[in-house]
Symmetry: C2
Subunit: 422 residues, 2 copies
Amino acid sequence: MSTQMQQDGAQPAAMAAGHGLDWPALFATRAERMKASEIRELLKLLDQPDVISFAGGIPDPALFPAEEFGAALTAALSGDTKGAALQYSVSEGYRPLREWLVTRMASLGVTCTADNIVITSGSQQALDYLGKLFLSKGDTALVGWPTYLGALQAFNAYEPNYDRLTPLANRPAADYRETAAAKGGAVKFAYASADFANPTGETLSESARSSILDLATELDIAVIEDAAYQSLRYDGDEIPPLLALDIARTGSIEASRTIYCGSFSKTLAPGLRVGWVCAAKPVISKLVLIKQAADLHSATLNQMAIHTVASRGFEAQLAKIRDSYRARRDAILAALDRHMPDGVTWTRPNGGMYVWVTLPEGFDGAALLAESLKTERVAFVPGRAFFADGSGANTIRLSFSCASEAMIDEGIKRLGRVIGRG
Amino acid sequence: MSTQMQQDGAQPAAMAAGHGLDWPALFATRAERMKASEIRELLKLLDQPDVISFAGGIPDPALFPAEEFGAALTAALSGDTKGAALQYSVSEGYRPLREWLVTRMASLGVTCTADNIVITSGSQQALDYLGKLFLSKGDTALVGWPTYLGALQAFNAYEPNYDRLTPLANRPAADYRETAAAKGGAVKFAYASADFANPTGETLSESARSSILDLATELDIAVIEDAAYQSLRYDGDEIPPLLALDIARTGSIEASRTIYCGSFSKTLAPGLRVGWVCAAKPVISKLVLIKQAADLHSATLNQMAIHTVASRGFEAQLAKIRDSYRARRDAILAALDRHMPDGVTWTRPNGGMYVWVTLPEGFDGAALLAESLKTERVAFVPGRAFFADGSGANTIRLSFSCASEAMIDEGIKRLGRVIGRG
């Protein structure tokens, strides 16, 4: 017990003085799967001024529309709306924002109504609520190897098993079913990020998207589409979201199996915590009940401010951030070409915030990070945490969203040196 | 399936056209316990101008410090803090707010540090996260008969059983343990609101608080103290929170078993969704991990604004709202004395927002509400939803926080008429 509690932050001195409870014995079994993430510990490194960081996957605060938010908040807190802006509100979210999102979703090929949308506190909350809605203990979620670490953390609270999302052509549906049943549950959903995924930066082709829908149809499961980065395309043509392709097959959102999770965190600002889910009404109405029971509603004022800023200039904001991030993406790819030793490979993303680097077999990302911080003062995220099966030790994730172009070249040069010595 | 899906909001027409999925078959078993609440449906009635409503338990928006929030938000979005105000932030919450709360908790008799505090999106979210932390399927939570409906809804997601929280003197600890074990789990915590509880408005005496701590100590379980209304005392002396009494017994917060859930919703404004949990570090550090996985953090800007407004004038705001609500409490008690028929009894709260009315046996609060809306245009909340065992049909909850004194007398007169006819 003492080891567990020390990991959890209790001080040995306080323990000795206080005769604390045996908390782990009281906790639910799921608490065993709640562990501090490497990314979170690494975020602390961003405060050290001499470290060049490719670690945190966060947007550049210089690109936030701060003035626009200031004006929107001031307006919301004056006149007729001021009481409502600070009052309790409905769990499904602020109706004008949901109606704006109907138009936004239509521009992506998704025909829906405001009743197909619930507002969440970022898309991270959507993942938590979807885990809560679908996963009984022992059920199986299909995820990529690697996948978004935050999705694994959100789902872990519901004690699922994970299986690898691969095309039907490579593995029959019966095999997924039997594997899940052997572990005491059923396959409930496939989770995927189709555009500029965290951590790889990769985009699924239209045929890869179709293949996921084929598998989901064959297994009769849901598809959770994490679209957090979808608006951050820097070149190439847009590919319809999984939800749009699903609707094109089935005829309507009510007949579709795809649950789209969107976010304003990467486009407007993450600190307001506003995202949304768009899906068939039976899913949305359950999510509304989950939200009501879990936090009543997302902050009213924040939803109003997001609505004002989005409806006044979402496309202009997208154009601004795409230009900035495109230049940084170009800079990091050029620097990698210039400085990486032979045997190192990496992705070439058309958008998003990440480049995924594969090191020669035998490298360990975590050990490399320790060495890199000590000798070269450069930070990144070791890749293993993104693999549900604990593989991927020889991978690392680089984020280019917060580094200046000059820093990018210097940082990648340093990284090349530490890998070259490894 | 069709009945279930229609309840969930899917239109029969869409079903017929769309061949929707059998969603309930995919949902986790816990989804069966997610039902729309009577309170939520009733909130829709507040929009009808001729209804006098004692239904929603919401603060009066005229009392919100809207100007102070406007100034705080404008300041946060100017100068040095503007990037941070809109950026991702740490899961445990904004440090200056946590430090202000250390001082606030000290004024309540709770000595702690900022590491004993995590910021949540209202105290509702704290209840969800504590359910997640403690309750495996089949475990038992001890709650009052009646208790806060939102606590039952939050805990229900984790599929617990409920047992009635009664003093040790009336029921031996072994009986609680055996009852829980027979249902396939263990007793994990006692949940209680010590001051001006929702729905009864009642306050636990210091000896009743001690008795809860005695029971929890005997059972070696946690105590969840829901302090959402604690600051709303209109007369009488303050009684130390359960957490303060626990610390007085055990010597330190690290040795205590009480988990205090606070909220700014009833004092400053609910729409910003800011609350907190104060407890021993092993609990807080797990809640931080839960929050990280569930929604990353509460909105940064909102925490900054709450900190500014609270640190500039929390006591003055409390004085203002106490004066207003005290007058309404006096008005509703006087009106009940004046207009209630014989055989009806009610609580006489020293604070909070609620009076709890017990009607003669044979009355049904839900039927009375239907009749009352039809004939007298007065709304309230039927009491049965607050009972984990489904009893309490002859009780109703009246909220006086949002009604003017003149409306209160007229509304209670109408209510007296409809009960008198019943």
